[in-house]
Symmetry: C2
Subunit: 140 residues, 2 copies
DNA sequence: CTCACTTTGAGACTGAGTCTCACTTTCATA
DNA sequence: TATGAAAGTGAGACTCAGTCTCAAAGTGAG
């Protein structure tokens, strides 16, 4: 966590006690998680962090590129740590909800071509493919 | 509108008076619109359609592929008619909100490769590139 | 007609996320 | 160590897009 501490300090983000406790849990989650899930986990561990702080901190971390935020049409956001990970996009199963990650350099570079064509400066992008995953296809 | 009538009938969707009035307005919008915007327009024209019916009908039309629904991180959805249009994806300006459409066959076919690789059956996809549009870059 | 089925509207309700504001913590400077 | 401005926090009120309820109205086959 010392590394993270440094990363955040560099960005001018104070690592308060609440934020440290939140990060400890958030970074352990090896998959996508929601604000409410995280809040509930922290509440049960008596971590002493309010719902407001959970939402505020997740937003802050996302703004500083420590977390990615995803909207998979569930009515709430899912978060995912970016630390030590490559950019990737997602396949979302409409039946079981399973999320599969993929990386495709050709798509990434085509995007840049598109942006160049429109004189558009890319800041981020979101590419989601919805459908049926391997397991869910079988029954169809 | 006779064509649309046929399209809907075929899908088992009754074209009631309210739905017809909603479609009349929705299909005239040549750009992306929100449910509230549409409701407000209809209300001002005294079209006699409730908010509940607007939301219900938009959902119904989206389910039958008459409309596309987009989430551009505004906290509400935008809709767009699919009738007589090609599939396209979007560039979204973070500063002025402008939405630009693009079509890129290479990205589309790479997506299919990705899906094939994961034995995933694509139903739909959403590809959004966020950043600064041509006009907004100038000031930066 | 008639009866079952569908659609509609007014307004209550939901739920993720934000805001307020009094209180606490942090930290630079004295 | 003292001090005060600035930043962070918690409880709970609030927002607001979207959904639900249920009584009333429309539709349509027989
Ligand atoms: Zn990507
Ligand atoms: Zn991911
Ligand atoms: Zn596409
Ligand atoms: Zn579009």
């Amino acid at each position: 966590m010392g590394e993270l501490d440094a990363v955040l300090k560099e960005k001018g983000v104070k690592l308060t006690e609440q934020r440290r406790r939140l990060l400890e849990k958030a970074l352990l989650q090896h998959k996508h998680f929601s604000a409410e899930e995280l809040y509930e986990t922290l509440r049960q561990k008596r971590a002493g962090i309010s719902r407001a702080t959970v939402y505020r901190t997740l937003k802050l971390l996302a703004a500083h590129d420590v977390l990615d935020v995803h909207d998979f049409d569930r009515g709430y956001h899912l978060y995912e740590s970016r630390l030590g990970r490559h950019h990737h996009d997602h396949l979302v199963c409409l039946k079981c909800g399973r999320i599969t990650e993929f990386e495709n350099p050709d798509i990434e570079s085509e995007q840049e071509k598109v942006a160049r064509h429109y004189h558009f400066k890319i800041v981020s992008h979101s590419h989601k493919i919805y459908g049926l995953c391997h397991r869910c296809r079988v029954g169809n």
